[in-house]
Symmetry: D2
Subunit: 341 residues, 4 copies
Amino acid sequence: MINVAVCGITGYTGLELIRVLLAHPKVSIKALTARFDKPTRISDVYPEFKGRLELVCESLISDKLLKKNIDVVFLALPHKVSMEYAPSFIDKGKVVIDLSADFRIKDTAVYEKYYGIKHISKEYLNSSVYGLPELYKNKIKRARLVANPGCYPTGSILAVAPLISGKMASKEPVILDAKSGVTGAGRKADTGIIFGEVAENIKAYKVGVHQHIPEIEQELENISGNKVNILFTPHLIPIRRGILTTAYVALKKRTSLPGLLALYRAFYKNAPFVKIYDQGSIPQIKDVVNTNNCAIGIVVSADKSRAIIITAIDNLLKGASGQAVQNMNIICGFPETMGLI
Amino acid sequence: MINVAVCGITGYTGLELIRVLLAHPKVSIKALTARFDKPTRISDVYPEFKGRLELVCESLISDKLLKKNIDVVFLALPHKVSMEYAPSFIDKGKVVIDLSADFRIKDTAVYEKYYGIKHISKEYLNSSVYGLPELYKNKIKRARLVANPGCYPTGSILAVAPLISGKMASKEPVILDAKSGVTGAGRKADTGIIFGEVAENIKAYKVGVHQHIPEIEQELENISGNKVNILFTPHLIPIRRGILTTAYVALKKRTSLPGLLALYRAFYKNAPFVKIYDQGSIPQIKDVVNTNNCAIGIVVSADKSRAIIITAIDNLLKGASGQAVQNMNIICGFPETMGLI
Amino acid sequence: MINVAVCGITGYTGLELIRVLLAHPKVSIKALTARFDKPTRISDVYPEFKGRLELVCESLISDKLLKKNIDVVFLALPHKVSMEYAPSFIDKGKVVIDLSADFRIKDTAVYEKYYGIKHISKEYLNSSVYGLPELYKNKIKRARLVANPGCYPTGSILAVAPLISGKMASKEPVILDAKSGVTGAGRKADTGIIFGEVAENIKAYKVGVHQHIPEIEQELENISGNKVNILFTPHLIPIRRGILTTAYVALKKRTSLPGLLALYRAFYKNAPFVKIYDQGSIPQIKDVVNTNNCAIGIVVSADKSRAIIITAIDNLLKGASGQAVQNMNIICGFPETMGLI
Amino acid sequence: MINVAVCGITGYTGLELIRVLLAHPKVSIKALTARFDKPTRISDVYPEFKGRLELVCESLISDKLLKKNIDVVFLALPHKVSMEYAPSFIDKGKVVIDLSADFRIKDTAVYEKYYGIKHISKEYLNSSVYGLPELYKNKIKRARLVANPGCYPTGSILAVAPLISGKMASKEPVILDAKSGVTGAGRKADTGIIFGEVAENIKAYKVGVHQHIPEIEQELENISGNKVNILFTPHLIPIRRGILTTAYVALKKRTSLPGLLALYRAFYKNAPFVKIYDQGSIPQIKDVVNTNNCAIGIVVSADKSRAIIITAIDNLLKGASGQAVQNMNIICGFPETMGLI
């Protein structure tokens, strides 16, 4: 059994983390934090936990938390806040799994440009590991600070990593047309995400300027060893959870679908949550919602010059909290799928 | 042709008012106001008006507006703000149609209790007319200040007015179980109405304490001449627009459905927007959405002791902006249905 | 470990049963049946089960199933089909948990009136137990044939059982205004439930004639010992899952809220899935979705003459498949909550 | 005033046609047809028309309809059925506006491949005009048979026509990633579009094989004079109406956004329903729903080598019935925008 703390439980990823951790056979949740006016029982915030978890959420004070014999600290905090708190836990030898963007981007100039804030914990960036187990399982095993990937990057990187890694993509930009549920925008008072604005609507937003662009580029270039151009267009869709990503990749040489499927199956052969669909099947959000899976389907253009890869994930699980627990499993030596569906 | 101003265009009722008024053959929109940082073209706020209406929204300053030769001023302002501005227009002989609650409740003590603010324009309450044309058409004709009804009260009062007026309801409380779309809560930054909280959810709220309770009671007692008890339970439903109200009324004496239908048809014979459904038909939101209609269906319990009356309205039209234009039509001597569907 | 079969996996309750049973530590799913053209892997029907369950669904043939060493047979079949198959399993000593209506209504004349078909297994009705554990746990322990309750009856009966049982309800009809998600209508090709008809719509339907009315009456009269009148109005709401029931009960004598809460807490003290909310809190669908809970909140009218009781359940769990597994737990001697959230 | 008939009123496009035509100042609806068991009043099918249109729908019999002095016949019939009926009206000199696909594809071999049925009215294909007024206004003026475009082709062709026409697109395939509301699939009993399957889901479907692909290719090649390759990926989104199309076009030479905007504005200068957004603005479904507009926004990649064009239409208006009335206006010599918003 390990003891964990979840810091920041008022957002959707914090709530989902508690749900996942409660179902985990080797985890005991020892502390929850939130910025309430006063200490508040978690079951008063989320009645679904009545009788299942009766912890009191308190404000996040590192010293107080450090006294609680915690093994793993999950930071489900806003960007900027994470990097204020993470160092205090790392310095005391705790494992920190950070769901914010603060430790994902290695180039702080890029981080500062896209997030509009100064990075205040640069010295911890070197040791942070990008928590995408399908690419970095061995590094994650030894990590003390995991930068849990963003939801869009998870669906986008997994869509094209085998092609990029296999040097099969041409130099044309990789097109990533992503459709996300609204919980991806967080749980906050924002007129742009109220029901009346989002329901019966679809919109593209932050086209060409979304903060997940450098994260995707960094990781694809890491895989490739070269510059990778992407065109990333996020769309807001009136569903609660899930991201469907439709990737269009120009192939260096014409390739048939069976060849591509074989490539993907080989690339992900040790990735228990990646589900490669057979020819003719295409993933839908409903295939993966409430699971930690990333489902992948592939179609090839008639002339075999282009691959269309479609990935589906649950943005709150494989795109955030499920992946965080997957990382925890790897670090703690548990089976990678333990407590996850 | 008359000239109108719409004050407060950032909310859903203001937007809907513009749509309705643009389609009205006898109306020219001369002024729009909103609290923006700087004067802003309406088509920059709502691209649907590109090429159809190119007015600039300015801050609401009564003196400035009064110079524009306006005949009718629509106030789509928050409660409290309306009563600050209405007097200046009334005093200058303008017709004011106020979509807020400020001039609906005749008893200011009740208003102050339910709205939590002091009433600052009490002297105008005497002359305000409750703008429900199905009950008060003659008074509305001569009104200078119309208190446009709330959305819930419109659906609730029209559901039971014929029974209350006909002295057919017993002394048991009238039960009004109302289901509303989310635009009824306004267009504002409120975590409680973001998509992630509202979609795939249903909730009852403000049970027994909703601010529309005294408004419904006031009007039903007005019709009845006696005290009328109601139990009013509003529910939030994940649709953009529409209210379905299910009313349960204990009848003084057992009555058959044909008798009730005849009563309702007679009561509403001069009400062009009220649609009484035939036996066996029950209104749905989709029957009335984008119209100014109130559709009414009736079912009688097996023992004929109770009537179940179901009304459907579009909360933004018959429950707000359509009704406001219906009131304008009556005051201005236009056909009651002009410009409305 | 027990072995189970799920018969009828193409509907929503069958799918949900598989999900719940897969998470149950003491259950092994040994057989699945469905009416496909040919034997079909479950993971081809529902990709979410890829790698988790790779059974092949075959047509339901009792003899074939009986050879598989099954302990409990779940029938997630349409009404009428269940009663064709249930006897063959009961006769061989299997436990049958039937999710259809076929064994719920003890009076076959009533069944035949509401379901429009002849009852062909009347001799099994005597031994069938209505599977609402909050009322009949002891009977369920010894049952071989469980008639798993309908979704609406579960939310309605649990709402008012303490008042009916405690002789606190007056003779006025109990009003049950229920709002259901669309999966309650099943998974079938029906124009009435396509997205374009249901989204942005609310409708009442089968008012006064719904087939769940006699089921609710039968059980409330069973509790009461007397005739109980109900007015039951089901509404279709554009959510996937969940039922919110708003019950209005006239009290024999004025009662305060603390008194009612105490009554409910006492009545349900051995019911682990019933969550009685504190004064001022009202359940929402989102509190219970994906759980087997029935959340109950109570409000009392100002004059204390009437109680408004609001219950929330997940129609596919507490209203169907979760409750079925709860019944299985009770019969098999497992902890009542095992494998359920 | 002209007299019109709407054939096929049970689908979404037929219903929408009636709504639009009722609001048209120069149109009198004289006949409605549908396959009901018996003649049925339209207001019994759609209660929203109570008091506004009281025609009786009868079965479609050409001879009967021809006696009614109809000027324009709208065929809102399924594919295959349209081509059975259209000839009888054309031969008698009526204007036929066909909303099916039957007269869109000039190459019947292609039609037969994609629609899986034999074309039985080939001799009428020569005279049919593809009813996209932004491209073919002059031809439409003289047309007797208008093949009203499909919903996806409308949004896709308008997105890229200026670039194709201006020879500015490179030879790389044009990528058309389209997101459609569910009414695009029609109003029919199909398990795939019931609420429970569509809500909270997103899916790509018919990738590379959708029947609108040859329609888009035919028209783009018509504009270009050369072969045009497209990759078209339709996605089903849980909204009732609207299509957002995100097009990715590789440019022959690097071009700045102002240059592209100027090109689009020039190309569409006589297209009253096309709204080109200013730099930095991107259309959303809600900008165009309930209007006949096609809103277009453009973004250019950082290296100016690629344009991302986003179009939004209401699939039932500009994508079907609004466009049909726009075509009628052009043929009848009315202002192109008459009766349309």
